[in-house]
């Protein structure tokens, strides 16, 4: 049965696979059709492409189609190959199935036959019962006759004076007869047995009568009755070859066999003669012997051994006759040997009884029987039969022994199976592989047991059949019990087979359950492990102590890991669920298909035949249609019409076939339903039950799996919502950060600009004031006045400073030491003034002294020395002051020049922008006018000619205007270029001037001319070069440093990003040698925030491109992109605002314009001339 199912599975599976492959081929073909359409469209698109980028953009889509086509083509190749293979396999399986079906049909026929036999047996049993009833009736009649005979006997005995004791004996005999009759009645063994029993009883009763009784009428009547019964029995047994009935008349039988039958004797004599020496004497002696022995032998029949010996003697004598015996001789021989056969049967029954007690003794006994048989060579035929019987018995005994051994082995194997099953349940001790091995071992053993049961049942049944054949009995000849036993044996085979099948199904299910449980356990372990891993991740990361950025980063990592784990688990669960459902569904399908198969087959054949006929008819119609038309001679329109008609015909035919198909499908399903209702055989009911059980199990599991998958889907949805919310939260936070960043950036830039402006203004005013003061100082009067003023100033200052120090000391705000130190410093500062005062006083004193006196000369020398010292000091101070002045002037000039250049650039740019605007306006106006003309033309106000003329005029006007504007633009650009050049030159001059001034300032007493000349000579080259390539100072940062030294960190902490992405923070003014393409960001904190923001965008973007917006989260992405665009626009507007800050520079420009006058003055300065 299992083989049958396997084949059905195979055939169904292969048919399904072929159907699937067919559908795949059609699908791939459809896909190719789509590709063909697409490719044609692409061909047109390529032809109409307007540029390489168009071709490239079409190419990317085209490549997709190309890949799709290649894929479809590969699928077709593979599917076609597989289909061919499957067809071959299917053919083989179908052949095999046909054989199996034949066997199956035979089995069903056998079952039906068994059922018929059962019915017949019941009928026979009923007949037998009727016969028993008839026998019982006869028995009653016989009893009545007996009773009358008894009565007669009593009457006779009474007349003849028979003693009471004898009578009593007769009574007891009669009682025995009655008991025997009752036993016979209860036996229900058929008429023959009844008759035989009756005969035996009567015979025994008659023999126990005395001679007197026998001679009575009743005795004679009884004898006559016995004779009739004997005749009747002989008549019944004769045809059966059973001559045991003559056992009671052995003497006569032997005599008739050896003497009365001349032919036989003649034969025997001939045989004896043929035997020559030994034969003649043996025959003569044997015949004589047996004649004498026969009588005595009859007396010894009570002893089987004697009977055997008699048989041996008879056999020896009749050996030759037996060898050459014909049918008659054999018959005679059987007559002779009947009692011995009976004896042997008796002996064999004893053997059998013994065998049931001691199995091992059977062979000995059998040997013994064989010995006996071998000793009776004349009983060849009998021996042959007996040998067959013995062989049969041997088989029976062996079967019995096998069954007993099987019980013991079953018990032992059950223990092993239980052990294996227990091991298979121990998840903690054994791996899944080991557990599966245990389970499979147990299953294999259990199946082997079932198989053994099937074999034993079959053997028992076959043996029974063999025995029946041996005995020449048919089923009809069996008794009721025997028939029951026979049918039970046959049923036992089917039961064992069904048990085997049930076990196979159950065991497969158990294995599948074990695997499923194990996978579920594994999933649970992985789940808990994942949870632990994630918790560990969180713990390790010290989540609570992280800052917000780190938390975001961690959350992303955490969620990625979690999503990955969840997805793998879901996939594993889906696979598991799918596999189980598939398995159960497969089993269910097989059983169901088996049920459907027989019923559908016939319907399918009929419907298939009819459909084929219809298709044939359709084809012939179409062929007729084709032959009626000559396609080659048709025009194009006719061809189109022909194609359409042909298609319509074809479709119509197809529709008919489809309708018929539908109809047959309906009929088939109806037939199936009816047939299914009529399935009443045990086998089909069993399969239906199995199918129902499997369906229930499948449905249960399917519902479980569905609920599980539903819960998973819900979980996924929850998780997805959570994830989306989380992503949105991140995006919102990022936008907040960015908005905050932008605001701060704008504020800071604005503030910095304001600060710069104010600082610049202050600087300018200070410089102006200082310069004015210094110039004023230069212009002040005579040396004396100067000295006086200085002395007064210094004196005043010293006095004031001393006074302050005194106050501080007296008020206790400074210590004595601090006071003394301060006073010393003030005195030192004021030493120059003191010296001047002393000189002045000395000079006053000198005027009072006599000329030429020694005192006067000394004083004069002292004054000279003091004056020299003072001059030197003054000169030094002057140099220092002049240096300071030059430095400040240069700074002023540089700042002014920069401002002027900026203003100049802006002015030129404004002009150029205006010209651009005029150009656009000109173009717009021309377009507008042209539109007006078109409108007028359309409304009929203007003719085509007029319109063309006006358009041409407008175009000419526009072109003229454009030319003018372009000329203006070129002029402005030329001026701008000149201005740039002048600015550059001016810068160089300024720098040269700076050097000259420095040079002059260094040597004021010599007017610095030699050095100034040299400086001026090299200035144009050297200093211009210096200024052309200044030390880069990145207060405003750069995105591409050319390489080499640069000043960084001069304003506030800056961020430096080298090309290899190294980040440095510089918070003090530093000159560093930086590699090329280094980026310098002016504000470290701001740059850090920007980098974080860009990194966030990058990470978010990186996660986007591979996912279609529609499949990812359309709404979220749209919102995000909308916000991004908004943010970008916002940024642009902010940048515009920042650009507007340039206008503030206008104020600076106004201020600096005032400096132009100063510059003119400076140019008049002898240092510039």
């Amino acid at each position: 049965m299992s083989e049958l199912i396997d084949k059905v599975i195979d055939e169904q599976a292969i048919t399904k696979q072929i159907t699937f492959l067919d559908s795949q081929l059609i699908k791939a073909g459809t896909s190719l059709g789509t590709c063909a359409d697409a490719a044609k469209k692409f061909m047109d698109q390529f032809a109409n492409a307007k540029g390489v980028s168009d071709v490239v953009s079409i190419m990317s889509e085209y490549n997709k189609t190309l890949l799709q086509a290649q894929k479809a083509q590969t699928e077709i190749s593979v599917a076609e190959k597989n289909r061919a293979d499957k067809l071959l396999v299917l053919q083989k399986v179908q052949e095999s199935n046909a054989k199996t079906e034949l066997i199956n049909a035979q089995a069903i026929a056998a079952t039906q036959k068994a059922q018929e036999a059962t019915t017949k047996a019941e009928q026979t049993r009923a007949d037998a019962a009727a016969k028993v009833a008839a026998a019982a009736e006869k028995e009653t009649k016989a009893e009545q006759e007996l009773m009358s005979a008894k009565q007669m006997m009593i009457n006779i005995l009474t007349k003849e004076g028979v003693s009471v004791d004898k009578m009593n004996m007769t009574k007891s005999q009669a009682s025995t007869i009655n008991k025997l009759v009752a036993t016979a009645n209860g036996a229900e063994k058929g008429s023959h047995e009844q008759l035989a029993a009756q005969y035996d009883l009567n015979y025994k009763a008659y023999n126990k009568l005395s001679a007197v009784q026998k001679d009575t009428t009743a005795g004679k009547a009884m004898l006559a009755s016995i004779g009739e019964q004997s005749k009747a029995l002989k008549g019944m047994e004769g045809p059966m070859g059973n001559f045991t009935r003559d056992v009671g008349n052995y003497k006569n039988n032997i005599l008739s066999a050896l003497g009365a039958n001349q032919g036989f004797i003649g034969n025997l004599a001939n045989m004896a003669m043929g035997a020559e020496k030994t034969g003649t004497s043996f025959a003569t002696a044997g015949v004589g012997g047996i004649k004498a022995f026969g009588t005595a032998m009859l007396e010894l029949l009570a002893n089987p051994v004697v009977a055997i010996l008699a048989a041996i003697a008879a056999a020896i004598m009749l050996v030759k006759a037996a060898i050459e015996s014909n049918g008659e001789a054999t018959n005679k021989l059987n007559q002779v040997l009947a009692p011995f056969k009976e004896l042997l049967t008796f002996i064999m029954s004893i053997f059998s009884q013994l065998v049931t007690v001691i199995l091992s003794g059977v062979l000995e006994l059998e040997k013994f029987a064989n010995v006996i048989m071998s000793v009776i060579p004349g009983l060849d035929k009998l021996a042959e039969k007996n040998l067959q019987a013995i062989e049969l018995e041997k088989q029976k005994q062996k079967l019995a022994a096998d069954m007993r051994a099987d019980i013991l082995r079953d018990a032992k194997e059950e223990v092993v199976i239980m052990e294996n099953r227990n091991k298979a349940r121990q998840k903690d001790k054994y791996s899944i592989a080991d557990r599966l091995t245990f389970l499979k071992t147990a299953d294999a053993m259990e199946l082997a047991l079932s198989q053994d049961h099937v074999e034993l049942a079959t053997r028992a049944f076959n043996l029974k059949k063999q025995q029946m054949e041996e005995e020449g009995r048919t089923y009809e000849m069996l008794t009721k019990d025997e028939k029951d036993a026979y049918v039970n044996m046959e049923a036992e085979i089917y039961k064992a087979k069904s048990e085997y099948f049930q076990k196979t199904t159950r065991l497969k299910s158990m294995q599948a359950t074990l695997v499923m449980e194990d996978q579920q356990d594994q999933i649970a372990v992985v789940e808990s492990s994942n949870k632990l891993k994630l918790e560990q991740l969180k713990t390790n990361a010290n989540f609570d102590n992280l800052n917000s950025k780190q938390k975001i980063a961690f959350n992303k990592k955490y969620s990625d890991q979690d999503i990955k784990d969840q997805m793998s688990l879901i996939k594993a669960k889906e696979n598991l669920a799918g596999a189980n459902v598939e398995d159960l569904q497969g089993q269910y399908d097989i059983l169901l298909t088996q049920l459907k198969q027989n019923n559908q087959k016939m319907s399918a054949e009929i419907s298939s035949y009819n459909i084929q006929m219809l298709q044939k008819q359709n084809d012939s119609n179409l062929l007729k249609f084709q032959s009626d038309h000559n396609y080659d001679t048709m025009t194009f329109e006719e061809k189109v019409k022909y194609d359409n008609d042909y298609f319509a015909w074809d479709q119509q035919g197809k529709q008919k076939v489809l309708d018929l198909q539908k109809k047959y499908n309906k009929i088939t399903s109806d037939e199936y339903r009816i047939a299914n209702e009529n399935l009443k055989s045990e086998k089909k009911i069993f399969i239906t039950q199995q199918a129902n059980t499997m369906i229930q199990q499948s449905e249960l599991l399917l519902s479980e799996q569905k609920s599980y998958l539903d819960s998973q889907v819900k979980l996924d949805q929850d998780y997805g919502n959570k994830s989306v919310g989380y992503q949105q939260e991140i995006t919102r936070k990022l936008f907040e950060i960015q908005a905050d960043l932008d605001t701060r950036l704008a504020e800071e830039q604005y503030k910095n600009n304001q600060i710069d402006i104010v600082a610049f203004q202050t600087k300018l005013s200070n410089i102006k004031a200082q310069r004015a003061a210094l110039l004023e100082a230069q212009k002040t009067g005579s040396e004396n006045d100067e000295r006086t003023r200085i002395i007064a100033l210094e004196s005043d200052t010293s006095v004031k400073r001393r006074k302050i120090q005194d106050d501080l000391y007296l008020s206790g705000k400074i210590s004595s030491l601090e006071y003394q130190t301060s006073i010393l410093k003030i005195n030192k500062d004021g030493s120059d003034n003191q010296l001047a005062i002393e000189i002045w006083l000395d000079k006053e004193k000198l005027a009072t002294l006599r000329e030429g006196s020694e005192e006067q000369i000394k004083l004069q020398q002292k004054i000279n020395n003091e004056e020299e010292n003072l001059e030197e000091k003054k000169a030094n101070r002057k140099i220092h002051a002049e240096k300071e002045l030059q430095k400040k002037i240069i700074e002023l000039i540089k700042a002014s020049a920069s401002a002027i250049q900026t203003i100049g650039d802006d002015q030129y740019q404004d002009k150029l922008d205006k010209i651009d605007a005029l150009k656009t306006a000109n173009s717009d106006a021309a377009t507008k006018e042209n539109d007006e003309i078109t409108k007028k033309l359309n409304s009929g106000i203007l003719s085509q000619k007029e319109a063309d003329a006006q358009s041409a005029a407008i175009d000419a006007q526009k072109t003229e205007r454009d030319k003018q504007l372009t000329a203006q633009e070129n002029e402005i650009k030329t001026k701008q270029a000149i201005f740039d050049k002048e600015s550059s030159a001016f810068n160089i001059i300024l720098s040269t001037g700076e050097a000259i001034m420095a040079s002059v300032a260094a040597f004021p007493l010599t007017a610095g001319m030699p050095f100034a000349g040299i400086d001026a000579a090299i200035g144009a080259v050297e200093l211009a070069a210096v200024l052309a390539k200044p030390l880069p100072a990145y207060a405003f940062g750069t995105l591409d440093h050319p390489g080499g030294p640069a000043l960084v960190g001069e304003v506030k902490p800056e961020m430096i990003q080298t090309p290899d992405n190294k980040i440095m923070k510089v918070d003090v003014p530093t000159i560093m040698s930086l590699p090329a393409h280094t980026k310098v960001f002016p504000d470290y904190d701001k740059a850090l925030q920007e980098m974080a923001f860009n990194a966030s965008i990058r990470s978010m973007y990186d996660s986007v491109p591979d996912i279609e917006i529609s499949t990812y989260n359309d709404a979220m992405m749209r919102k995000y992109m909308g916000s991004l665009v908004g943010q970008t626009e916002k940024q642009n507007s902010k940048l515009d605002k920042l650009n507007n800050l340039d206008k503030h520079l206008g104020d600076i420009a106004n201020n600096t314009r005032n400096l132009e006058g100063v510059l003119k003055g400076l140019k008049k300065n002898p240092w510039f001339s």
Partner: protein, 210 residues
Amino acid sequence: MKIISLLLKNVNKACDKVLLSDFIECTTYKSYFKLKRLKWLYVPKFILQKAWTILFEEYCTLSRNSGYEAFYEGMQKVYRLDAKLLAITCAVNCLSQKYDSSCVDILRSFGYTYRFNWKDKKEYNQNLNKVISKCKSIAIERDREKLKFEALAKQGKNQDPGVDYFQTSLITLSKYMGYRLNPKEITVAEFCGMTTGYEKEIEQLLKQKS
């Protein structure tokens, strides 16, 4: 995808928006970061490359590059033939699996006006085989065009405008315009316009001389 078009909006890809200096840098170093409108915004490389393709194509058009035209036409021819061949092959393969009227229409549109009577399997297969054998000529033509195109592309690879070309052009144009042209100030479109004007004038002068 919308994201691409959105990102493309933040990249300069028109000749009148890109400074010549940035263009030169893009050409020389194949680094297209200069095309970003916002320096701080992260834009993926492929977007920049796409923008560059559009920009360079416009440059080729504006500068009336004859090599570009040949390149474009060759490319167009190869792909058009390839698509045609694909359409025919797919249609035949589809028809070998099932009858499809649209595929038959496609084949007929290409001039294969056979009956394609699928009821007559023999004739049907013969028709399909004929199509396959005839379409081989298209494959040959495509391969020939492909070879031509590849040679052209190889030739064009060595003719990419480099820094030297632009420097020389700028010097010449500065002389022609009468003032120094700063690549940081003029756009690519302006540069092309000037070059074209200059070339025209030279042509006219040559004509006059001749």
